[in-house]
């Protein structure tokens, strides 16, 4: 979400400062690298030829895939919006008992990879598949993507507006829809975009649930070696992603939230649930049971089962863990380093060119992992055979895929670091490069750490592009888990998922600590 900033009369707009060449150069290189998969996809399409492409595009299969993808996206997005917004409102604005615990519990599914969630469900209910199964499982896996931004927006929004609406004679329900939801609208839309994009990109969960979408079909075509079909379907998938991004841009443009008066929030009086308490708590119990209980329960069950039958060799487990952690850490470092110049440029030197540059990096959001991976395979086959099925390619794929996450985190902390400090340092005799090292990097360190953790966490649990780009002979936790799951060896698969979750939990924990340890006072001098 972007917060509209009014020009501060006492501060001269940064537009008039000259952009350092090194910063512009680095950002252009990053943007170019990020666009590369799209370029490769188009090159590939040109090679296949329009005649063949159109024949492939306008056939029955495409229609089926489109219908499957679109209807699932609509249902899951709507359900996630409803669950996420309602949960956020109850937790942030009412006297729901145990609010702090629920706040932690309802977010947990975001840390569990979707294919582990569906593994859990399928192993309890093997008959669960097709549209209904996919809709249920995916909703439970992705609703936190709406919950998180909406809860944050409720925390930041002015509760006084709700009180005023009540005072003006609106009932509770009408106040909720006309004031509360309106306040949270940008956050809800932002969350819905993330959900829809996640659905377009998901592979593992749908494969387990035997639900056919563009991504699963592209993957299958890649496996059987049908490049033209994979390419044609990728084009549609990317187009769908771009449509979503554009729609989001329009939906956001008309929304305005503002806050009047002093920016310090009053201690607010939570709304009383009264007789509604019991049904609402029951609802939270059901939600947590389904979204957290089922995946964890089945995992524990299979771990215990495995204890009696076949435990994987500890060596294979630790080697997979090493690979996962190594590739992910390298990708996290790369993505964070790439995000820094773009964030510095976009925050410190805003302008039309800069905005265009930054927006172009967001195109990556429309590129699902499978498309990025295939584009890189195409690239290495044609231009860099020595890279094919080597680790750098996988690391680069992760870095491209999760670049937007890194950018969001770094950008936020750059925006918080006051420019005055950098000028101060120059006034005290520091050269520009020295300012970057002695001031800027220190100030944005929390953002860099957050970016690293976010990318690491996402890469550890990434499956789709890992399956395509995994270096020969290597296995990661995700690919091992996948190999056993597809063989229905659930007990053998469970330890890999467990280690994956443990590795992903550490950065999540660090992330939480960074954000808590960073008092707003320390970030902005008073």
């Amino acid at each position: 979400m972007t917060v509209a900033t009014l020009p501060d009369p006492t501060h001269v707009p940064a537009v008039h400062r000259r952009r350092p060449r090194a910063l512009v150069g680095a950002s252009v290189v990053v943007a170019a690298l990020l666009i590369l998969p799209l370029v490769f996809l188009l090159l590939q399409a040109r090679q296949v030829g329009w005649g063949q492409l159109s024949a492939l595009l306008f056939r029955h299969l495409t229609g089926t895939l489109l219908w499957n993808t679109v209807r699932l996206s609509i249902v899951v997005t709507a359900a996630s919006a409803a669950i996420g917004t309602a949960a956020a409102w109850f937790i942030e604005r009412t006297d729901l008992p145990g609010r702090r615990w629920w706040a932690v519990l309802v977010v947990i599914p975001v840390a569990i990879p979707d294919f582990v969630v569906s593994f859990g469900w399928v192993s309890v209910a093997p008959s669960l598949h097709g549209f209904a199964g996919a809709a249920l499982v995916m909703t439970l896996a992705v609703y936190p993507l709406v919950y998180l931004p909406v809860a944050a927006s409720f925390r930041g929004a002015d509760p006084g507006q709700e009180e005023v609406a009540r005072g003006l004679g609106l009932g509770r329900v009408r106040t909720f829809f006309r004031v509360t939801v309106a306040q949270a609208r940008p956050a809800i839309l932002g969350g819905c975009l993330l959900v829809a994009l996640a659905l377009l990109a998901e592979y593992g969960a749908f494969e387990i649930l035997r639900y056919q979408t563009f991504t699963t079909e592209i993957f299958t075509e890649f496996q059987v070696g049908d490049v033209p079909v994979a390419c044609a379907l990728s084009l549609i998938l990317v187009l769908l992603g771009l449509v979503l991004l554009t729609a989001d841009g329009f939906g956001r443009g008309s929304g305005r939230t503002s806050r009047s008066g002093p920016s310090v929030a009053r201690a607010r009086q939570p709304q009383r649930l009264g007789r509604g308490t019991v049904p609402v708590v029951a609802g939270f119990v059901v939600l947590a049971g389904l979204a957290v209980g089922v995946p964890f329960g089945t995992l524990v069950y299979w771990l215990l089962q495995g204890g009696r039958t076949t435990l994987p060799a500890a060596a294979s487990l630790s080697s997979a863990a090493w690979h996962s952690a190594g590739y992910s850490a390298a990708a996290a470092a790369l993505a964070t380093a790439a995000a820094l110049p773009v964030a510095l440029l976009s925050v410190r030197y805003p302008g039309r060119t800069t905005m265009l540059l930054e927006r172009s990096t967001f195109l990556v959001l429309a590129l699902p992992g499978v498309v990025i991976a295939l584009a890189l395979v195409y690239f290495s086959e044609h231009d860099a055979a020595f890279l094919y099925q080597r680790s750098p390619l996988l690391i680069v794929a992760y870095a491209i895929l999760f670049f937007p996450l890194a950018l969001v985190a770094v950008r936020a902390s750059v925006a918080q670091a006051p420019t005055g400090l950098e000028e101060m340092a120059r006034g005290l005799g520091c050269r520009p490069w020295s300012v970057l090292w002695r001031v800027t990097l220190r100030l944005v360190a929390p953002g860099l750490a957050a970016a690293f953790c976010l990318v690491f966490l996402s890469a550890v649990t990434e499956l789709t592009s890992t399956l395509i780009l995994i270096p020969t002979g290597a296995q990661t936790l995700a690919t091992q888990f996948w190999a056993y799951t597809t063989n229905l060896s659930y007990a053998a698969a469970a330890p890999y998922a467990t280690v994956m979750l443990v590795i992903a939990v550490i950065p999540s924990y660090l992330l939480g600590r960074w954000f808590n340890r960073l008092p707003s006072k320390a970030a902005t001098p008073t």
Partner: protein, 350 residues
Amino acid sequence: MTRLTATNLYKAFGRQPVLTGIELTVPEGSLTAILGPSGSGKTTLLRVLAGFERSDRGVITLGDRVVEDGRHYVPPEERGIGYVPQEGALFPHLTVERNIAFGLSRLERRDGRIARLAEMVGLGTLTGRFPHQLSGGQQQRVALARALAIEPGVVLLDEPFSSLDAGLRASVRADVQRVLRDAGTTAVLVTHDQDEALSMADIVAVIRDGRIGQTGTPQELYEHPVDPAMAEFLGDANLIRGSVDRAVATTPLGTLPLRSGTTPVVTPTAAMVMVRPEQVEIWPGAGVDGLSARVVESHFHGHDTVIRVLPEASSGIAALVARTDGALALAPGTEVTVTVRGAVLAWPDA
């Protein structure tokens, strides 16, 4: 200790002109205030002097060194200017000590300068603290010590007291003034607060619409403003229409002696006459020879009382403000007589 000059300085943001021909000379070792309402371009001027912004045209010199003219531009880090911004802008990740030491080389840090500076600004015991553990006034003092640490030729202060509350402001102001005098540094203070400028500075330069309207000592500015607008900007002023001839002004308040400095005229000429409120005397009742008036309102401030009166309609004066010492309690509606004490300044119509 360095003299600072700016000659014919221009700066525009897009099509919006901000500085339109600034002429400024800051004498060596002086504390010069640049006084102007918000939007007058004073902060921009300071940023151009510091080198954070480049001017479009004009010359800036620091001592004998030209730091900016049409062709050359010396970046801020090579100007040797100490800058104290509005909010202090301390580095939040560094302690007080390391903030002060920021601009110093490793060698310079060892000469005891940091401790001396911390002592000088009265923070000798707080050097281990982080900025967020300090009060606003303490933060400002650290910012000043940091600026002085590099032994700058000139210190630039951008409304350094505006973020402090009124009680703290007076004491921090006095401390800063003392520290600057002790250090003997040339200093430029930007402010919109007339009291601050008049009470602290050796020289005040008033900036209006991007250029310097008048420069002088505080007394000169208060007693001899160049035009009526300047008179109103620097303190309260009663501006009355009248006429002048040689050494006297004729007004509804009587015939008043003219202060030296009024443009001399030898034939009676219409003029605007300035009477400062402290020159206006109020006499209860109608026994004195003067202009009769009625009290509109009266505000007691402890050290003085400000009384607004409405003179009789025939005078053509809409209102007069008087500042009297002591507690002269006059209810609204009371009949009074108004006289003027001392000489007045007038601007004959051109």
